[in-house]
């Protein structure tokens, strides 16, 4: 077990290294010059060279790459070209903002999807609940998530004015950690959070349903029913066994969905790390973009590892070697 985890961690390090390297060269290949943005404001050639020096953009590509890897090993992603602040100082509050919609959104989406999926899968085949459940889930899954966001904004913000449609708090609200504890923050949180839930739930629901449908006709379910245990308990056995394929899908999908949250952050102007990532790419702010991509890569790798470990917990037949 320990050997297995160590080996998987070593593999993960390799994957992260590959991703960071590809990223490094991709940004260098991009035609634009990061100083162009500042040049327009009348930067002299001397000043430009000084900037390039400061940012570590002089020397051969190889020298830059070695310095870059060395810095990453010490956790130093450099300073943002735009904000003139260390990258982590820029990203940390944004990461926290993103976690506020991502963690509850994904947890609730997965949990609701699993529960409703079980109900739909256990319902009478061809009945009302099954047909409407599958129909709704398929439609929502087919709709791009920015459309879900815009629909929520149109209905609950513009038309009904129940929720604010922009940002994280009204101007002049408290700052720092205290701002997360205000009703105003929760009020702003509601719509983007709902958008994440709606975005993530349908696939969970459909996967869980097909698992339950498959399991409900298995011999072992018949024997559990024959034992005279209540219907709900029988359905639980089917759901418990359906969790296995769901988990294999869920963790990698979590990481993927975090990337999808970028769009929701942009639609709701939520100051999260995803929105910053898009902005950083358009602004040629390499250090910020690189750090953000690095984070995503680490998350996806860890999610896959977590999936394997959780699967082993849920399925007694899995043995790690």
């Amino acid at each position: 077990m320990r050997a297995y985890i160590l080996r998987r961690l070593a593999q993960s390090v390799l994957v992260v290294w590959a991703v960071t390297s590809i990223m490094f060269f991709m940004f260098r290949v991009m035609p634009a010059d990061p100083t162009a943005m500042l040049l327009e404001r009348g930067l002299t050639e001397e000043a430009r060279q000084a900037l390039l020096q400061e940012w570590g953009l002089t020397g051969t590509l190889w020298d830059q790459y070695v310095a870059y890897l060395g810095n990453i090993l010490t956790g130093d992603f450099g300073s943002s070209f735009l904000y003139r602040k260390p990258v982590w100082e820029v990203l940390t509050p944004l990461i926290i903002n993103t976690l506020w919609i991502a963690v509850p959104g994904l947890l609730l989406g997965a949990a609701l999807g699993a529960v409703i999926g079980t109900a739909v899968g256990w319902a009478e085949r061809g009945g009302k609940l099954e047909r409407s459940g599958i129909f709704l889930a398929t439609v929502i899954r087919g709709v791009p998530n920015f459309v879900i966001g815009i629909a929520l904004l149109t209905i609950f913000s513009s038309t009904l004015s129940w929720f604010p449609g922009f940002g994280m708090g009204d101007p002049g609200a408290t700052t720092g950690f205290a701002r997360y504890m205000t009703l105003d923050f929760l009020h702003h949180l509601a719509l983007p959070l709902i958008a994440v839930i709606i975005y993530f739930m349908p696939e969970n629901l459909l996967l869980m349903r097909s698992g339950v449908v498959e399991n409900r006709t298995e011999d072992y379910i018949e024997l559990i029913r024959a034992k005279g245990v209540p219907q709900r308990r029988v359905a639980w056995h089917a759901a418990r066994n359906s969790m296995l394929p769901l988990i294999t899908w869920l963790f990698p999908a979590l990481a993927e969905t975090i990337a999808g949250i970028v769009v929701i952050e942009i639609v709701f102007s939520w100051p999260g790390v995803g929105r910053e990532l898009v902005l950083a790419v358009t602004r040629q702010d390499y250090p910020v973009a690189q750090a953000a991509f690095f984070l995503l890569a680490v998350m996806i790798v860890l999610a896959n590892l977590a999936a394997d470990l959780v699967y082993g917990k849920l399925d007694p037949r899995v043995v790690y070697k």
Binding site: M1, E124, R125, E218, D219, Y220, E222, L223, I224, R225, A226, K227, G228, V229, P230, Q231, R233, H237, R240, N241, L244, G312, K313, L314, D315, P316, R317, V318, V319, Y320
Partner: protein, 373 residues
């Protein structure tokens, strides 16, 4: 994962309270009498896209309290369908008619609540394919305890203690209760399923081909085990099988089914020694018998043909197309139910059964018939 959490080798030490509760539970369960089952005119049909499928038609039999009944017939003749209907496990689009009186209570039209009450309490099941009939993600002990706790208000520890006793009864070490189904061999799984079926000492046991999936040595071990338990606990049992030898050894009474209908029924000794129905005669020929020294070896004879399509059952006797003795009457008119002493057969020509029996023992009777058909 298995490496980090090895199954515990021993049993859980039981507290005094658990032991007291277990003694009380055992006493309550031991008091349960064997059940009597009377099935009258049981018919089961499925509605399919191509019409009604008559899986079982007009079956009647009785299992007196404390006896075994063998339900035999080839695959697809409706044996398991009868067992499922008795447990209320038929699929949703099934119509069931007739009556099945378990100690006087009709168990066919029961609602969910009523079914839950009788299941495992009064009528329990040893399933056909023990390979797949255990939940792969729960320990065997959990699954036995679940059955006990669905009906008896006892603690988890007490239910496990009872499960340990059931394991001892079927010859499995108690420590293996903590293991998962995939860690068991086929024979052990079958024994675990038997232990589960005995957990609440139900008055009526339905054993649906309990040994079909096992090798011959394991089959005989399991059957010996079942017979031993039966003698010890004095339960009633319906044993579904296509092995006539097992029925001969185990069951007081026998019902022979063919294509969803009852071909013959009666005391096992009568049915096997003096079969009235040609199908029973054919079935007997199809099973190997140990050669008697000196006597000529009995050849194995299979019954030619296949079971008729039950979506469009033939108008006369359902066995007519495969029967070497069939007459025009057999092909046009459904046979009557004829009683000969304790024995009952659904055949037009039971009065010629002696002549048939002599002919049926000869392989050419069945071979010639194939040419005629």
């Amino acid at each position: 994962m298995a490496a980090s959490t090895p199954p515990r080798a021993g049993t859980r030490p039981a507290s005094a309270a658990t032991l007291a509760q277990l003694a009380e539970l055992n006493q309550r369960l031991a008091w349960k009498p064997a059940a009597r089952l009377q099935v009258e005119g049981l018919s089961i049909g499925y509605s399919t896209l191509r019409g009604r499928f008559h899986a079982v038609e007009d079956i009647s039999f009785e299992v007196p309290a404390g006896t075994n009944l063998g339900l035999v017939g080839e695959s697809g003749c409706g044996k398991s369908t009868v067992i499922k209907a008795l447990m209320g496990l038929q699929p949703a689009n099934t119509s069931v008619s007739g009556r099945a009186l378990l100690d006087g209570q009709d168990i066919l039209g029961l609602d969910d609540r009523g079914l839950r009450d009788i299941r495992w309490n009064s009528i329990s099941l040893i399933t056909q394919s023990a390979m797949n009939s255990l939940d792969p993600v729960y320990t065997i002990g959990d699954q036995i305890a679940e059955a006990i706790r669905a009906h008896e208000r006892v603690s988890r520890a007490t239910a496990w203690a009872r499960a340990e006793e059931m394991f001892a009864l079927v010859g499995l070490p108690a420590g293996r209760l903590y293991e998962f189904p995939h860690m068991f061999s086929g024979g052990m799984r079958q024994r675990a399923v038997i232990a589960m079926a005995l957990a609440l000492n139900a008055g009526m046991l339905l054993a649906d081909e309990p040994t079909t999936a096992l090798d011959p040595i394991m089959q005989s071990q399991i059957m010996t085990r079942i017979r031993g338990i039966h003698a010890h606990m004095r339960r009633s049992m319906i044993l579904v099988t296509h092995d006539i030898a097992v029925v001969a050894e185990t069951c007081e009474n026998t019902v022979v089914m063919y294509a969803g209908k009852m071909a013959e029924s009666g005391p096992t000794a009568d049915v096997l020694e003096r079969p009235l129905h040609p199908y029973t005669m054919g079935l007997q020929n199809a099973f190997p018998r140990l050669p008697v020294p000196g006597a000529p070896r009995q050849p194995l004879i299979s019954i030619p043909g296949v079971v008729p399509n039950l979506l469009l059952p033939p108008p006369g006797c359902r066995f007519a197309s495969r029967c070497p003795f069939a007459t025009d009457l057999c092909r046009t008119t459904a046979p009557p139910v004829v009683r000969h002493g304790a024995q009952v057969a659904t055949c037009h020509h039971t009065d010629r059964s002696e002549e048939f029996r002599a002919a049926a023992a000869r392989p050419e009777t069945w071979r010639n018939m194939r040419g005629a058909a």
